[in-house]
Amino acid sequence: MIELFGIGVSLQPLWLTLKVAALTTLILLLLGTPLAWWLARMQSSFKIVLEALVALPLVLPPTVLGFYLLIALNPDGPLTQALRLFGFEGQLTFSLTGLVIGSVFYSLPFAVQPLMHAFEALPTRLLDAAATLRAGVLDRFFTVVLPLARRGFLVAMTLTFAHTVGEFGVVLMVGGNIPDATRMVSIAIFDHVESLEYAEAHLLSGMMLVFSVVVLTLVYGLNRRFAVKVG
């Protein structure tokens, strides 16, 4: 709890949101990159079905997605039971883990689609050329794919991060709105508005806004500097 401009607000939702967004971005980068690569290089007609599946979170209302996550992640569900075998004792829903899992699903298309398009735009010949110059698979990824698909990665990261920061329906369902534990900033703002605490809502919104503008400016600025250096 801090006091700013004479208004007392808890900053906990802010930190939680940043933590969830950062973790989600990291996880989606690790999972989304191979998935997007696989989809981009896939030639079978099954690809369309998989692309549609990846895009599903765009179509499903967040509360619906949240409801299905409640079913999938419940303490007696197969996922939690499987984790019990590895000594997991907690509960997936109403926890940071649940928030991150929910956000990963919800933001999946925002990470996979830009990456997929970047990979599709990558000329295969350049990878062939690297292979004929004795570059192995990982070598090719880091020295050819990564620098050439850099914009795709940047878009994927910023969209994922921003989308997670702004999400509401899924985290509300999966998180359970527990103060100081799973109450993300979007929920906190919503609750303030619903309780007619407009000053608190404005303050939190303002901080979120300033933070987002600063981060996005930094990222795009870095991108430009890097681009100039290469070009």
Binding site: R125, L126, D128, T132, R134, G136, D139, V144, L148
Partner: protein, 371 residues
């Protein structure tokens, strides 16, 4: 030695090459129309297509066995693509460094023990800067590759491929995207480098002139199959050679150019066959191949003295090919044993009474130095 049997299906197209055995010394040209499967075969040989099946060995080293493939990056090959395929995020120097940093440090004897060091990796006689100067891009090292002309890009691509010290250099129509001047300059560069560096080259083209200029050996392809593997000399000796499809029969004479004399003529040939060439193109050239269209060669029973044609060579008629639309191609043996084709009318053939074994003079109206 490249030995194997490869198949590769791409939609409705089926490559079914082999069993084949290609002596890779010098320059081997894969020749065929577009769609004949030459690029597909090259992708199968280099391991760039995962769907290739069959057997492949390079100097006893297994490259393909059924569906198993030795990854491209472990095949010790270099590749020059049609469009150069330079890395756009790296400078010219960056592209060359990419190859250099991944190249083996010292010459290694061939793993499978190819005969007489053939197929083994040789020490590259160049470092990065020297090679850049040799291919003519010394002043472009710090340039962005996107700012280069088509010819310059191919020069960088060739240097990049050589810097990775390949045991086999593959080139897929490296000149097809260039204008005629850049084509001529690069053709000369490739010809010279092939000899200087000594790395075996597999070269794809559908242009007969590139075959005649570069090839030691030609692999003819059509409809996804290898039709013939023969030396350039053999390929030019048969009347139905696919090389003749566009301009009719062609002869390629090998020899050396000498010093230009006081008449402004440049001698070409050897001690038994001697031609004299006019014009600035011959001056100062070190060309070793001369291209003569059969339709530019006439035959005479005696050596005409009062005639403007400069080059008269005594020949022996070796073979007369069947008449086609009133014309015949006569294969003549020169004094040094090289073959010269003359295309004359069937009427003239009968009037002169030419037959295999007959002596005659070949009058050569025009030649092209392959320079």
């Amino acid at each position: 030695m490249l030995k194997g049997h490869l198949t590769l299906r791409q939609g409705r197209f089926l490559l079914d090459a082999g069993p084949f055995e290609i002596d890779t010394r010098g320059v081997t040209v894969l020749f065929g129309r577009s769609g004949s499967g030459k690029s597909t075969l090259l992708r199968a040989i280099t391991g760039l297509d995962r769907h290739a099946r069959g057997q492949l060995e390079f100097h006893g080293e297994r490259w393909q066995d059924g569906a198993w493939q030795l990854p491209t990056q472990r095949r010790d090959i270099g590749f020059v693509f049609q469009d150069a395929a330079l890395f756009p995020h790296l400078s010219v120097r960056g592209n060359l460094d990419y190859a250099l940093r991944r190249a083996p440090l010292s010459p290694i004897p061939p793993g499978g023990g190819g005969a007489g060091g053939e197929g083994g990796r040789r020490a590259l006689p160049f470092d990065l800067v020297t090679l850049a100067a040799r291919v003519g891009i010394a002043d472009k090292l710090d340039r962005d590759v996107l700012s280069l002309s088509g010819g310059e890009r191919q020069r960088v691509a060739i240097a990049r491929a050589l810097l990775s010290r390949p045991r086999l250099l593959c080139m897929d129509e490296p000149l097809s995207a260039l204008d005629w001047r850049a084509k001529a300059e690069l053709l000369r560069l490739i010809d010279e480098l092939a000899r200087e560096v000594g790395v075996p080259i597999l070269y794809i083209t559908h242009a007969p002139i590139e075959v005649e200029r570069l090839a030691d050996r030609v692999v003819f392809m059509a409809d996804g199959r290898i039709e013939h593997i023969e030396t350039l000399r053999e390929a030019l000796a048969r009347p139905d050679s696919p090389l003749f499809d566009e301009e009719g029969p062609v002869s390629v004479l090998e020899g050396e150019t000498g010093a230009t004399d006081e008449d402004g003529l440049t001698p070409f040939g050897n001690d038994r066959v001697r031609l004299r060439l006019t014009g600035g193109c011959a001056r100062g050239s070190r060309a070793t191949r001369l291209r003569i269209l059969a339709r530019d060669v006439s035959l005479s029973l005696d050596d005409p003295a009062r005639i403007s044609i400069l080059n008269h060579l005594p020949v022996t008629v070796e073979r007369i090919d069947p008449e086609h639309e009133g014309r015949v191609t006569v294969a003549c043996r020169l004094a040094d044993g090289q073959l010269l084709l003359a295309e004359i009318t069937a009427y003239s053939l009968r009037r002169l009474g030419l037959h295999a074994g007959a002596a005659a003079y070949a009058l050569i109206k025009s030649v092209v130095l392959m320079d």
